[in-house]
Symmetry: C3
Subunit: 313 residues, 3 copies
Amino acid sequence: MAEFPLKHVYEAQQFDRNLLDTVFQVANDMKQDMADGGKRYGRALNNKIMASLFYEPSTRTRFSFEAAMLRLGGNIITTENAREFSSAAKGESLYDSTRIMNGYADIIVMRHHEAGSAEKAARVSTVPVINAGDGAGQHPTQALLDLFTIKDHFSEISNLKVAMVGDLKYGRTVRSLSYLLTKYSGIKIFYVSPPVCRMESDIKDYLVKEGVPWVEETDLDAVLPQVDCVYMTRIQRERFIVPGDYDEAAGKYILTIEKVRRMKPETIIMHPLPRLDEISQEVDDDPRAYYFEQARNGLYIRMALLYLLLTAG
Amino acid sequence: MAEFPLKHVYEAQQFDRNLLDTVFQVANDMKQDMADGGKRYGRALNNKIMASLFYEPSTRTRFSFEAAMLRLGGNIITTENAREFSSAAKGESLYDSTRIMNGYADIIVMRHHEAGSAEKAARVSTVPVINAGDGAGQHPTQALLDLFTIKDHFSEISNLKVAMVGDLKYGRTVRSLSYLLTKYSGIKIFYVSPPVCRMESDIKDYLVKEGVPWVEETDLDAVLPQVDCVYMTRIQRERFIVPGDYDEAAGKYILTIEKVRRMKPETIIMHPLPRLDEISQEVDDDPRAYYFEQARNGLYIRMALLYLLLTAG
Amino acid sequence: MAEFPLKHVYEAQQFDRNLLDTVFQVANDMKQDMADGGKRYGRALNNKIMASLFYEPSTRTRFSFEAAMLRLGGNIITTENAREFSSAAKGESLYDSTRIMNGYADIIVMRHHEAGSAEKAARVSTVPVINAGDGAGQHPTQALLDLFTIKDHFSEISNLKVAMVGDLKYGRTVRSLSYLLTKYSGIKIFYVSPPVCRMESDIKDYLVKEGVPWVEETDLDAVLPQVDCVYMTRIQRERFIVPGDYDEAAGKYILTIEKVRRMKPETIIMHPLPRLDEISQEVDDDPRAYYFEQARNGLYIRMALLYLLLTAG
């Protein structure tokens, strides 16, 4: 059993540098154990039940958590229809649902359409709650797997130049990643976006406070040769209020194979997926394309969290 | 292996006093074994498959059954979309679906929108069928868990005064509970409801026939200090045909903390859940609030039934 | 571990006579082992995860695959909502979804609304893909279980007269079954359909090329006493463009108990299910009714394929 002080995981801000080191160490153990046929952890959570309580469908995230639980020998009960729980009552219902779930499951993985829901559930739950995304709020396991992917590739998360590209205003992942990168030294961040979807100033102010240099760019080509990591995001039409803004933003930051050839050989390309057309499919065969490994790393991070929350005393 | 004469569970009327004793004894064993880490029953249903065949979603009930099966070491196949089975054909289709399910699963848990469906399925099924609620019809595991909760708390179900509050005309649970209480001695029932949703006379006549005294009240406050068990139900707007009736009924029977303080210390408050506002959330912290334990007891009752139906010879 | 040259199963045309023999041999082993409590194969796929990736619901087929995986000791992650994967992007998305699934599951069972999807997924997948039906395209496990059912009953698939009845123009199963029957000797096929939904000429030409005699009939009564196998299909209203055509076709080929009595005693009646009214329910009790055994055989065929794809080297 590992030491782990958290009872629940609902936001990236719960993780300091020590906790990140613990999670990444266990995630790395999980990765090696999987390659070794699961000898060490393959039955670690036998007899445990995880409830996937998804108030909106997200097959990708759900499958990642469920595969993680199964790889540890655990069991699953699952719904993508949890909204029915709240059909009658409103805020109260999440409380009741959580209390009832406590009678059935040993751990709850919750996806919700309203920001703050996971933390609210955690507050009343007698079993651990993991936030699998709550609306415009947090998606902490995505933030952890992003950072773990950088560590997995570069061994150390330090002295790296990281570009974040696309919709930085509405993108949940780039905000969390920026926040977590402040835990490491020698980081420089390049925010590359159209003017209409720049990173918000709360994050930029926080970086200044924490001594992490950042620059804003609109020219992707100028940034690509300089950085170690290119974090692409999709630009979603529904985020734009003014009709013309979307057309201006989208398409400007498509990563083609020609652009990729201007990057350093050891640079990695990341993306939280799903992608629209912001990375050309021809890039997938380039060794710098790292987004499918990144998705796979989600499995190890989720195995690590399930293991830590369910066994740490 | 326990003795158990039933092949299927589709209605509360299948249970006589002996059968209730058997089910509650096994449910109690399950409860103790769970507290002991599942040493005795944790692998009892290894290699068995339960099919959750839900023609309408009911996440709460489905999770309860599925957790029960997993706690016994069994496996699950599950759908909330079973209505598709019946998209083409009508009554015939339930027959075909059941026959086909018999090829895949060792036991079927069925939720259906039409009363009588589970019994119809049971009639043709070669594997046990459990009714998880069929429309306005039966929901026998709810009735059993209600009664088990009373027994769990008071040790004996006898010489108790039980109030049932709210929508007694359309509420399935209060009808079944009334019926099952006739199996025990010294029971007195208080029906507390607005005039528009009184308990139907078939049940009241049956109580008279079985020698169980009952009274009807409209004043909740007068009843609360006298009873050992307060069974609250929600009043659903869609039950009322005349528009004004709902407004008259709803809100009249809200159990606030002030009302709870007038109850005896050992009285328990039950509710089949989900609740709307008929029990104030502040009541949840009172030791008399027993509805979440009641939901949890559903797990033990369902474990007992799955175990008995699948192992009794 | 058995020899099995296929990495994926996406169409009936992948199977030559040798492969069919292998699959049917293993399916038969599975059937016997199930009757024996799963001693030999009951834990064969422990630690393996199957992803049910259903882009449209098909509870019957999904349950059959999932029960098969569980009977082999494997684990399941499942969705009937996979279309959400493709909500944003289009053809590209199936590629991405497949790549991502490769990180979570050891084998993918895919149902898709577009013909050719399974083969497209197989082309990029690093884990085996099984086609569980792709639109108007292929449904190879149905074809295999149909043929296995004939072999299971007659021991040898040779010197048999097979009638296919109903909608032969739009029916996927009768096309695949016709194709696979050319692998065997002494077969004669009777196509019995209304003129508006005759078997297409590509299949009939292929039968001629392979030396399999066939005839077309419109009179079911004339055919029934002659054949060893009657393969019924349903006539779906939505297949007909001209309104009057459906009414002409439907109802003409209903297999009543009177018609069944004119069949030879050892003849078997098959149907891919679900049925509408093309076989009267009274026929179910006749020993020639074989469609529920046929559905059950789907379990053994799917167990065989899962086993062969996941263990053959």
